[in-house]
């Protein structure tokens, strides 16, 4: 893929992150904000993979992998607290 296409897709994904931020600001309860955060993490993983394609370094894919695993752990902690407290 050419660089322009990848940069356009990166802009669209950034708009998705901004929409998640809007939900996080508006969300009346804490579970709404947790779901917005979860969506932002998933979208960010896609953004990191796309940037690895843009910079043409396969090492950068490891960052996306570690990122997806570890943010999931943090969100599991929040979800368990919301359900019945750790």
């Amino acid at each position: 893929m050419s660089g322009t296409v990848i940069l356009t897709l990166t802009g669209i994904i950034t708009a998705g992150i901004l929409l998640c931020l809007l939900r996080l600001l508006k969300g009346p309860t804490a579970p709404d904000r947790a779901v917005a955060m979860d969506t932002a993490c998933t979208v960010t993983t896609a953004l990191l993979v796309l940037l690895a394609l843009f910079f043409k370094r396969s090492v950068y894919l490891d960052v996306a992998l570690v990122y997806a695993l570890l943010t999931f752990m943090g969100l599991v902690a929040i979800a368990r607290y919301l359900e019945r407290g750790i």
Partner: protein
């Protein structure tokens, strides 16, 4: 590229201000998790993937879990 980075910095600023003004401490923890997530993306844009990996593992996962455990031991709402 510079427009995308500017948008991400702006979103990071808004999330940091939101983390400051929330009275519900769990929401503040979630907002600070978003701040460290966006900082990780910015480190990635600056071509420092190892720093981005450390920021993602410490900021987004470890600090969030520790803060949630601390909220569980104390109380959730600020007076």
């Amino acid at each position: 590229m510079i427009i995308i980075v500017s948008l991400l910095v702006l979103a990071m600023l808004v999330a940091a201000v939101a983390a400051l003004i929330y009275r519900d401490l769990l929401s503040a923890v979630i907002a600070s998790c978003l701040v460290s997530l966006l900082a990780s993306i910015l480190f990635f844009f600056l071509q420092a993937p190892d720093v981005a990996m450390a920021e993602a593992s410490i900021g987004a996962a470890l600090v969030t879990a520790i803060f949630v455990i601390a909220i569980r031991r104390t109380k959730r709402y600020e007076e």
